[in-house]
Every structure is written in structure tokens, then in C-alpha cells.
């Protein structure tokens, strides 16, 4: 996947920076400030990749903030400050108002302060969000140990399934999970709670498979999902078993959290950490390899 080649270049260039955890190693960067850590992250969403034609401008603003908050959630960080840089074709004041309205509504609910921004011209409508969070503890993708269990905050695949139905021509209220597409909920409170009990934590934006591989590789362990533990009913209402499994593993855009822990009351258990490497799915005793596959911008 080309996107990961590009991120690898970033990692090569900037790995010698003297910081606790650069963002190339996790969903966001941890930098020491005083006795605690600031968590810094940025994300761009634009009309070419991220805004379906049915999406409202208020939802552009919501999404830009939500995807950035999801990175903070993946660090168990308290959200503090948000800035955004918007590019527009024309100085459409109504469009800007509607974007800000959606952004502000989510910001107020989550409790993050929107402190600045920038508006520029471009042929592509885009919003880049920057978030600053705060935590006293570092949790990353490395630290998973054999014997621990693997959890997710919700079954993945709902966003991809919904987008497919949209693309087939269904209306925005007639797709299976409209909220997953139009106003995904960042798992901030879950992230803070999980970070206290988990050994690793990451968000799932490109696919569950990619996030699993990232933890497996960073922690130097294998991960084995157990099909008997996974409830795919929400997806199987709409597609067959095989299709539901594919959506669950390889669908993008869900913004749920994935974590490993000895035991957790939060989330759904889907498998376990074992010795070895890579990621597998156990179906009635038969181990199948899970591919490194998911959403890619290129």
C-alpha cells in the first residue's frame, strides 16, 4: 500500500528528533512538557476522499474534528485545543458558517477549545485539523504480551458497508449506519478509561486488519482472532457471512479503538495475543492469515 511507503519516508526523515514518541510511531506524537505529556496530531479531510456527495457542510466540520479527536482517543489523552485550516474554491461565507457550526457543536460536547485557524483558496474543499491533548501516561502500539486479550469498542465494517450502500444510490437515511458515515463519534472517554488498564491502544481508521498488524509488529507478538467470539450480527443483517467478515476485517472509516489487556470491562473481546508474529483468524480450529489490507488514499 503506497500510503505506508510515504509514511515510512516521514519516519526515516524525522526519527532522529528527540521526542518521547513521534507520530510516525503511533496515532499522534507524545512530547514531554513539564512533568506530563502533550499529545499532538493532525489530519486532513477533503471532498475528494472523505465527503460523500450526500454529506452536509455541518458534517464536514464534525468529521474534521472527529478524526483528529480519534487520534487523541488512541493515546488516552484529554482533549485541550483544536485549530483548523480550511481551503475553499470561493469565499462562500454560508459554507464556512455551516462548517464551523458542525465543528463547534462537537467541540462543545467533547470539551475541546477551538482556538485558531486559517482560510485559504484551493480547487479542493478541505479541512486540516490540529489537536493538542494532554496525558500523564504514554500508551502506544507496543507493549502487548502473549496471554493478553484483544478488544474493540464496536464491531468494525459498519462505515464501509454504509458508504457502499450510499454509492449504490440509497438515500442518506436509508443506509444501515448513517451516523458512522456522517457524524462518527470519537471514543474520547473510552480512550481515557482504556489507557488506564490496557497494554496497547490504537484507533481503527483504515481497517481493523491494519490496526491489528500495527500492534502485532510494534509489540513483536502474534494476534489470533477467534471467530466464535465475534458478533457479526449487525453486519449479517445486510450482507452474507463472508461479506460481513470481509467488512469487519478490511473496511475503513470506523474510528473505533483497538486495544490489548489482561482483562477489560470496556469493549468486546475478539481474540488473544500469542507468541510469534502476524495476525490470524481462528475459524473452528483452522488458522487463516489476515492480510495487511484496508482503506488507502492512493
Amino acid at each position: 500500500m503506497k500510503e505506508f511507503e510515504l509514511l515510512k519516508i516521514a519516519s526515516e526523515f524525522f526519527r532522529d528528533e528527540d521526542v518521547e514518541v513521534p507520530a510516525t510511531m503511533h496515532d499522534a506524537a507524545y512530547v514531554r512538557f513539564g512533568k506530563d505529556f502533550l499529545v499532538l496530531t493532525c489530519d486532513t479531510v477533503n471532498e475528494m476522499c472523505d465527503f460523500p456527495p450526500q454529506m452536509l457542510p455541518e458534517e464536514f466540520g464534525h468529521l474534521a474534528l472527529a478524526v483528529t479527536l480519534s487520534d487523541l482517543a488512541a493515546c488516552g489523552a484529554n482533549p485541550l485545543f483544536f485549530l483548523n485550516s480550511i481551503t475553499l474554491r470561493t469565499p462562500d461565507t454560508m459554507l464556512v458558517r455551516r462548517i464551523f457550526r458542525g465543528m463547534k457543536k462537537l467541540a462543545k460536547r467533547i470539551g475541546i477549545k477551538i482556538v485558531g485557524g486559517d482560510i485559504d483558496r484551493s480547487n479542493v474543499l478541505s479541512i486540516t485539523g490540529f489537536a493538542v491533548g494532554h496525558t500523564s501516561k504514554i500508551i502506544t502500539r507496543s507493549g502487548a504480551k502473549p496471554g493478553e486479550k484483544v478488544y474493540i469498542t464496536d464491531v468494525t465494517g459498519k462505515a464501509e458497508l454504509s458508504i457502499r450502500e450510499l454509492k449504490k444510490g440509497k438515500g442518506r437515511n436509508n443506509i444501515p449506519f448513517p451516523d458512522k458515515v456522517f457524524c462518527p463519534e470519537p471514543r474520547i472517554q473510552e480512550g481515557i478509561a482504556i489507557s488506564k488498564i490496557a497494554s496497547t491502544l490504537t484507533d481503527i481508521s483504515d481497517s481493523l486488519a491494519i490496526s491489528l498488524h500495527n500492534i502485532s509488529k510494534s509489540s513483536g507478538v502474534a494476534i489470533e482472532l477467534d471467530i466464535s467470539k465475534i458478533n457479526l450480527d449487525p453486519l449479517e443483517k445486510f450482507v452474507n457471512k463472508q461479506e460481513a467478515l470481509n467488512l469487519f476485517l478490511y473496511g475503513g472509516g470506523d474510528y473505533e479503538l483497538l486495544f490489548t489487556a489482561k482483562e477489560s470491562d470496556i469493549g468486546f473481546e475478539i481474540g488473544e495475543v500469542t507468541r510469534g508474529e502476524s495476525v490470524y483468524l481462528n475459524i473452528n480450529g483452522r488458522k487463516r492469515h489476515i492480510k495487511f489490507l484496508g482503506y488507502s488514499h492512493f
Copy 2:
């Protein structure tokens, strides 16, 4: 100017946030953190507005960092951390390497850590930069008092003059001030020194006139420039007197600093703060009004 209408909307939406200084009131936001302040800012540059065809990818990276650093300089802040979000048409690894090379070179020299980023797809090549700085003192555009003097770190208009010559077909080495276009120098050290002695401080990115009006309005004072104090020789080598004056007042893209102080060893004195409102130029005893005019994205 349409751009300021858009920024006014941002100000309306987010002025109730409980922060020390929101970015809508200055070049960057000041937020309290511990006993000091973090300074937060973001800026987008793209090939439609900011990269002349003669510009090299290394210079895209330099520019993206430099314009963001200029906002920190305008707060007298020490640069700490930088993140960037790049959008590309295709996953061109060589282009990304060259952008990072230019960015890294400037970052090393200035001493800011590049800790994260994001690469996405778009039809327009763009780089959004996000910088975190640190200061123990707030300096803004309000605070200028009648009797103080007005200073700039260098004569403005050089960037606009150089871009005009480029557009006429001159080669990148045959324009008057190539560095002002291809690798502008953020005034970080000057900003830190100025913040210790000045009553107001801002950067000049859209034009000197706009920055003067911003200080005049925020401080509730008039500003009177004195033509006899202003050395336009660097511009008059290339254009006539009237043209040089227009470039000086209304040209964009210089990234110099403008400040007011009782007295300063740094920078060039260009006029004084007086009672009243708006901005004027004194030419041999005749006061002319300086318009609110400069570079605008729209």
C-alpha cells in the same frame, strides 16, 4: 477583502472560548499551560496560491515551515514542535522526500522538532503546517501607545516585486530578491528579542498596510509613517518612486515583523503612534491615508 469577512465569521463563532488570546485576535493563539503559555498556529500553502512554477519541492517544505514559524515569531515564542499534513495527486515518493528535505533543513537550523504528520490525496498539492511554541509573556497587536515609535525588521515589498518579475518571465536567479520568494527567513530570534521591549508585535504576511491597520485598530490608536525615515533604495533600484512606495505599503509575502516600542535597537524606524485612528503616511508635512489593502487569497 473577502478573506477578512471569512476570518470575522471564525471570530464570531469561537470568541466565547475561554483562552488567553484566540488566534482570531492575533497571528497565533496563546493558551495557558502550567505557569507559561503555549502558542499554537496553523497555515496552509498550496500550488494554486503559494508555489510559483519555478519553486523547487525542497522550497515547498521550507515555505510551509517558514510561514508557520513567522506566526510564532509574531508572538515572540520559542519554537518547540511542528506537524504537517501534505496532500498529493499521486504517491510520488521522490516529491515527498524533497519536501521533507527542505523542511528538515530549516527545522534543524531554527531548532524546532518535526514530530508528526499526515499524507492524503487531493488534486491540489498542499502542505498545512501546525506549530507549537512557548513563551512566558503575551504580546499582541493591542498595547501601542501615542508617542511610541513604529519599527519593521526589513523594508517590505521585496517579495511582491520579485514575484512580479518572475511572472514577467525572468529566471529564478535573475529576479531582485530570490530568497524572499523561494526561502523566506522566519524572524524567530528577532521576535524573541522584540517581545522583550515592544508594546505590540505582528508579522507582515499580507502587506505592511494590513498589519499597520491591525495594530491601529486593536490598540485604538493612529499610526503615522514618515516618508523621510523610510529607505526605499532597495526597491527604487528596480522601479520608480511611486511604484516602490506602493510595493512597500501594499505588497504581500514578506514575512517581516512590525512592532511598536518607546525605543528599539532592532529593526528600522518608520513612523510613530499618535492619538486618533487609522493609518497615514506623512509626505513632507502632507498626511495621506494608507488603505487597508494587500494580498488576499480571494
